[in-house]
């Protein structure tokens, strides 16, 4: 069946260091893979996405890498800041007409001052 999962439940990094959050997926048919950030008490917030025909996409301080060969997705955050502390979810956009999101189980990022 469809599933999107994460390798590490918690990641602790020093402020200023780079963070890498990983995700594995099993459904290769999706057109988009998306990273969301969720702060305590809030809904998921879009960070960056990547289309399935790309292998890298960069945003402001964030980069998403897609390796379709091993069905692996990663989020790199440069110069991690205290405000980056949150739970990060990868999600896969379903290919059916409803465009539902299939979420992974989340990684908590803790930034040490």
């Amino acid at each position: 069946g469809e599933s999107v999962g994460l390798h590490l439940p918690t990641l602790s990094v020093q402020e200023g260091d780079n963070s890498i959050i990983n995700c594995a997926y099993s459904n290769s048919a999706s057109d988009y893979f998306i990273w969301y950030k969720q702060e305590s008490g809030k809904g998921p917030q879009f960070i960056i996405d990547i289309r399935s025909n790309m292998d890298k996409r960069q945003g402001q301080r964030v980069t998403v890498l897609l390796n379709k060969t091993v069905k692996h997705l990663s989020l790199q955050i440069a110069a991690t800041q205290p405000g980056d502390s949150a739970v990060y979810f990868c999600a896969e956009l379903g290919m059916d007409s409803s465009y539902k999101l299939i979420f992974g189980s989340g990684t908590r990022l803790l930034v040490r001052p």
């Binding site: 809030k42 979810f89 059916d96």
Partner: protein
């Protein structure tokens, strides 16, 4: 920046009672969703709604659940007879037409069934 608004932010209800969770999606969005997140777990799809009807629902969305768009702005999720296991955060989301990934989520309603 346009927002998806959800009310209430927290609702406590007794088991067996009916609850209605309310959402105001972004005005020019045409696709609406409910997701749920049990504490400490991943966000799960419940239902999608387009053109005044359900377009897809998950196994979680059984006969106890229903959705409605009673007017041009509100989108509601009703749980007819709540169970303890319905306790979760419920997120409403809406999506731009023609933009598969243009989701915006609300801040959620925390439902506690006691």
């Amino acid at each position: 920046e346009p927002e998806v608004t959800q009310t209430p932010s927290h609702q406590v209800t007794q088991m067996g009672q009916e609850v209605i969770l309310r959402c105001v999606p972004i005005s020019n969005h045409l696709y609406f969703y409910w997701y749920r997140q049990i504490l400490g777990q991943k966000v799960e799809f419940l239902v999608s709604f387009y053109n005044n009807e359900i377009s897809e629902k998950s196994e979680i969305f059984d006969d106890q659940f229903s959705v409605e768009r009673p007017d041009g702005s509100n989108f509601t999720l009703k749980i007819r007879s709540t169970k303890l296991e319905d306790s979760a955060m419920y997120f409403c989301a809406s999506r731009e037409p023609g933009q598969g990934r243009g989701y915006t989520f609300g801040s959620g309603t925390r439902l506690t069934v006691v």
